[in-house]
Amino acid sequence: MKTTLSRRQFLITGAALSGGLLVGCGKPSAADRLGDHSLLPVEGGEVALNGWVKIAPDGKVTVAVPRSEMGQGVLTALPMLLVEELDARWEDVQVEQAPVARIYANATMMLNVVPFTTDDDSVLARMARASVQRLGYALSLQITGGSASVRDAWEPMRLAGATARAMLVEAAARRWSVAPDQCQVEAGQVINMKTGAKLGFGELAKEAAELTPPQDVPFKAPSQYKLIGKPMARRDIPAKVNGSAVFGIDVKLDGMVYAAIAQPPVFGAKVASVDDKAALQRKGVLKVLRIPQGVVVVANNWWRAKQALAEVKIVYEPSPNDQLSSADIAKKYKDELAASKGFSYGDKGDADLAFKQAGKVVEASYWAPFLAHAAMEPINCVAQVKDGHVTVWCSTQSPSLAKWKAGQVAGVDSDKVTLHVPFLGGGFGRRLEVDMVEQAVAIAKQLDGRPVKLLWTREEDMQHDVYRPAALSEFRAALDAQGRVTAWSNRVAAQSVSYDSVRRLMPSIASNTPDKNQIEGAFDIPYEFDNVTVRQIRPETHVPVGSWRSVGHSYNAFFTESFVDELAYAAGQDPYAFRRGLLQKHPRHLAVLELVATKAGWGTPLPPGRARGIALHESFGSWCAEVAEVSIEQGQLKVHRVVCAIDCGVVVNPDTVEAQMQSAIVYGLSAALFGEITIAHGRVEQTSFPSYDAVRLAQMPVIETHIVPSTAAPGGVGEPGTPPIAPAVTNAIYALTKQRIRSLPIRL
């Protein structure tokens, strides 16, 4: 959707641009991010050829990976990029966690805050994209999120491989006194094309490291790829089938003690008094501590700490939030939606006029609840504060923020902080937060140099999450006499995740200003209506909100794809054909839609009692369409089959793309079927999996994934599969029963 620029949009874009201009112009280039050998620690005669790759004398290649492995395959996909251009043998490759440094910043993730549609190629849109990436780079935001790991690494890591390869070739050419173009590289060796002589990377690395890295080294053509596009076995899997994989919760250190925490059940409440006499009498209990976030018991075994914590009598000060409930929050949303016109990034056409001239107006209101992340590994962090140095072991998506926060709490500079990132037992956005680091370091500070493992209970994890915000969406559409949609009006009330996230990190600079993440997937709908107005209203509640797999797309896709479905029926058209007819200028949307319809057999007969629903959504640089096949037997909804089509640009590891589509669909389906966090007396009512349940094997549909072949730059794969699943299922329910589900979770 191309729109004329509103004055307010201009101001916001101007602010983003000036932010970017403060730190420099233009997107950081791959060459800016090559880094040098000093970034990587070496041992055993290894040499680093840049900030991404080291080569040992025996030819072993070590690739530095600056993203956290949480099952999305970064320890495999990212080295594939570098090794593709290096032409090392995959068997010789090992990986290590990159340190925290600017070249590893996830600049691309910042694209998710830019309020322009993907197909907007205007000068302003391009400048905004470049500026935010420059800003992310300047802030060294080393973050795993925004489905941006491969997208961000695509150029820097291939360039690191290609440049290292060129240096190895140059070193060999000098030895042989031949021109570099007389050499070729194969499987970790440089070959003299005249004599057939061979030198291994390990023999050349030291000389190569002394050369000046060449500039503008060309990349391979896609037809030359040996790794990219091939299904590669994930490097992290063998350790994950025998119990040897180390997650944050598994870190073991000499002399380590264990901590359990009770945070105020009502968000924002303060501790008034603590009676720890009984707890201190219990076996193994070392200390009862107060830290700003709550009350902590430290013991020589975590279970002992947790049992003792239950005996600590904690009294909380009365809080203004003590009586708040979900109904109050829903009412606040409704009231604010009614009272405010809302903020727009730019309207298209004249919707008001179109409504005045409408033959028919269709209206609907939708709701999505708060959601918890409920990663399988409960929140934890190990910390040690000793001799002015802080060491942290944390399964985090945000290494740079974790390091900064640890230093801040301990009162030391970041260079006195060492951070280790073990495997993450699920992230989904929850581990972007650094609350666990803040707490663990605050506890460790009081333990005279002993390391401590802070571990939350599942109940604490569920009741002190940063939640996917609840959202209320109000639609109006105008149809003319022929059933053509002439205007689309959508207003969404939802808490701002961007505001709340910044507020937790740097309260002094946070403000509840327009937030693209709040309205993403709604302001940028692809359907080619003549008149469009989309507005955001950002209520504030006492419930903390954060990034939940696909963020604003997670609710806006449910809203928009449901309402589009409503309009198809209002226009008397097939939902697939209706969408197709509105996407003639959106080839990538159209391609996944057509592919999913073909593969799902859209329009072909189904067994009695079954129906299909379709949904389409673009997010994180990828296009995804899904068809769900459902039945209802004795009041029970069953999702039998989900067909998914994804265009994520060039595919690095197709097996991972397939796995991520399954994962994203199950995550979204769990939310659609069961997910709801409710508030009573100011606190979260759900405690653990029975009250916040998830899809299990018995509810698992068969998922078929189809990937659109593409040579376009890579898109994300971790999140784009999640947004379409809820509307695909609810649209199928409508097709089956004529019951329109306008609120999640689904209740028949």
Binding site: M70, V241, Y258, M376, E377, S663
Partner: protein, 165 residues
């Protein structure tokens, strides 16, 4: 003092009677392959075998396993577990991997009791939660392990089409 066999070796721990086996394994014996997920036997991440029966160790007091044989994901001499582990690698099952110890122990108990389970048998026996949503590959890998009596090394990744077949 509580004495039991852990993966074939006798162990003794001097802990409270009501300490759950999970925390004895993790914090006292350093066997961290068995995971804590919920503490109320709802998710299955802590599944181990007690005398061959799949059991959620987070609610099993250590006093109740005195004299019994406890088997965890770290055990090396279970042919069924080894077949499943190889299938898990071949089918690239784990994502974050956190729930997979429990999944594998539940699947091992299933195949021991029922060497050729149907989809319905798998649905009934495998109630573990995986938030990454690896279920489809879990199912495929259990069937593959059931069919193959000699999966020893990790085969290459099956193609998408093979996995869907």
């Amino acid at each position: 003092m509580h004495t039991f066999k852990l993966n074939g070796q006798p162990v003794s721990v001097d802990v409270e009677d009501d300490m759950p086996l999970l925390w004895v394994l993790r914090d006292e014996l350093g066997h961290t392959g068995t995971k804590f997920g919920c503490g109320i036997a709802a998710c299955g991440a802590c599944t181990v075998h007690i005398d061959g029966v799949a059991t959620r160790s987070c609610v099993m007091p250590v006093s109740a396993v005195a004299g019994k044989a406890v088997q965890t994901i770290e055990s090396k001499d279970d042919a069924i577990l080894a077949r499943l582990q190889a299938a898990w690698v071949a089918y690239q099952v784990p994502q974050c991997g956190y729930c997979q110890s429990g999944m594998l122990m539940a699947a091992t108990a299933l195949l021991r009791a029922n060497p050729a389970p149907t989809d319905a048998d798998i649905d009934a026996a495998m109630t573990n939660i995986c938030r990454c949503g690896t279920y489809q590959r879990v199912r495929a890998a259990i069937h593959a392990a059931a069919q193959s009596k000699s999966v020893s090394a990790a085969p290459s990744v099956p193609s998408t089409a093979e996995k869907q077949a």
